[in-house]
């Protein structure tokens, strides 16, 4: 396959950055998208240029490190996958592919396609936990039975990998899907109910401080989410938040 890549290059956070065009040849349909970038980088290094910086780690769709906005979509045109699971067979010979970093005020670019998603961490610091110490003397795990449906829903919410595709794809750069996934996970479990009020207030407060946009319920996040996190979580968080505000 022969492709034209239009990649965002930016030396560092202060640099202005621009799209640079790279022709590339000899790409096989069996390659993953990131392996295609590996090939490009190898060519750049051999030419004496600086390779394109991009985040990646597990390359099996679970660590959430890889990002990339490919041809106008977070994690590219395929559904239910991260960029590292995207394969070149999704593209045609001769295609032009835009590759940009995830964009949001709360995700500043560090270099090229690498962005700083520490805002997500700070939201978690604000309340993404259940306050229980590691004593080894907690009650036996089977003491509290949990409705399987709730447990399954909590799991579905907890499957979030924190990649930031929801923010990147949202026209408002809203982080509601991400935050609501964590709020929902704990809201659905009896262990999490004790701190529910403070948790939702604090996490949403931090989310707002980070400069994410507001949710306008377009549903784009749910569709682009590689783990299929449901919009139902956002509704649940809205509910939790309303209840907490009225209470608190």
């Amino acid at each position: 396959m022969k492709l034209t890549l239009k990649i965002w290059r930016q030396k560092n956070a202060q640099d202005k950055g621009a799209i640079v065009e790279y022709p590339i040849d000899g790409i096989e349909p069996d390659m993953s998208f990131l392996e295609m970038l590996d090939v490009l980088n190898d060519q750049l290094i051999n030419k004496g240029d600086e390779p394109v910086a991009f985040d990646h780690d597990c390359r099996e769709g679970i660590c959430g490190m890889c990002s990339l906005f490919i041809n106008g979509e977070a994690h590219g045109p395929d559904r239910g996958v991260t960029t590292c699971q995207l394969h070149m067979r999704m593209f045609k010979d001769g295609d032009t592919i835009f590759i940009e970093p995830f964009r949001a005020k709360a995700f500043p670019v560090i270099k090229d396609l690498v962005v700083d998603r520490s805002s997500f961490d700070r939201i978690q610091h604000a309340g993404g936990f259940i306050s229980v110490n590691t004593s080894g003397n907690t009650i036996d795990a089977n003491t509290i039975p949990i409705d399987k449906h709730d447990a399954d829903k909590a799991f579905d919410a907890a499957a979030c990998i924190g990649c930031g595709a929801c923010v990147a794809t949202c026209k408002n750069s809203s982080a509601m899907l991400f935050v609501s996934a964590k709020v929902s996970q704990y809201a659905l479990l009896p262990q999490g109910k004790v701190e529910a009020v403070d948790r939702v207030l604090n996490m949403v407060h931090q989310m707002d401080l980070e400069g994410f946009g507001n949710c306008t319920n377009t549903g784009a996040c749910e569709i682009e989410c590689p783990k299929g996190i449901s919009l139902e979580n956002i509704a649940r968080m809205n509910r939790e938040y309303l209840a907490a505000s009225l209470k608190g």
Partner: protein, 221 residues
């Protein structure tokens, strides 16, 4: 948490947006029913309009509430839109919004602006003359004038056309707005799915009725 922070919270803004929207949706139902009367009976329409125009409860309580609702909804709409724009200072070179969200959901500000512009025209046509008639000039009440005024306004094909286009945009606005308001208020279950369907029906029927009424008067007279 500080109270001021609560009032600034993104979620509460959205809830306020949803509530004001639902309020305006209810008002639309009232408005379309009144207009519909004009198709069937000139006299009943005049009576109903007169009642609305001179009942103190409606004039001095409901009308200000409505005005507040309208202003709140669009001011908040602007505020949220500006905030949302600011949340992504550098945009994408290529953004394929159509891949994952409907046009209506992505362009509420556009359909909203059209509706706002229409409101300007509508006020110019009906509300300002009405205020002038009643409160500025202090003209004596006349319970028979409404139908004639209405018909007169729909004489002009350009105005009728503008009205119809605006109603279509209103339909698009409602299409996303209704189900979105349920989601914003935290409803996401089988009931909200049913209500959303009702909402889609509403988004089609009400604007369609407005259009039919406008065309009716345009062609009938």
């Amino acid at each position: 948490m500080a109270q001021s922070a609560l009032l600034n919270a993104s979620i509460l803004k959205k809830v306020a947006m949803a509530l004001s929207g639902l309020f305006l949706i209810t008002f639309l139902a009232l408005h379309v029913s009144l207009n519909l009367i004009s198709v069937f009976s000139e006299n009943v329409f005049n009576e109903a309009s007169h009642f609305m125009g001179y009942n103190p409860l409606i004039q001095f309580v409901m009308q200000p509430v409505l005005a507040f609702g309208v202003i709140f909804h669009f001011v908040m709409g602007f505020v949220l839109t500006i905030q949302n724009r600011n949340a992504r200072p550098i945009g994408y070179a290529k953004y394929n919004g159509a891949a994952n969200a409907s046009w209506t959901s992505r362009n509420m500000i556009i359909s909203g602006l059209v509706i706002l512009a229409f409101l300007g025209l509508h006020f110019y046509d009906f509300w300002f003359p009405e205020i002038g008639y009643k409160y500025v000039a202090g003209t004596a009440p006349d319970a028979t004038r409404y139908y004639g005024e209405l018909v007169h306004k729909f004489h002009d094909p350009i105005r009728t056309g503008l009205y119809c286009v605006s109603f279509i945009l209103l339909g698009l606005h409602l299409w996303h707005g209704f189900s979105s308001s349920l989601q914003s208020m935290g409803m996401h279950n089988k009931y909200s799915r049913f209500l959303s369907k009702v909402g889609y029906g509403y988004a089609v029927v009400v604007p369609a009725l407005f259009v039919i009424i406008a065309l009716f008067h345009h062609f009938n007279n």
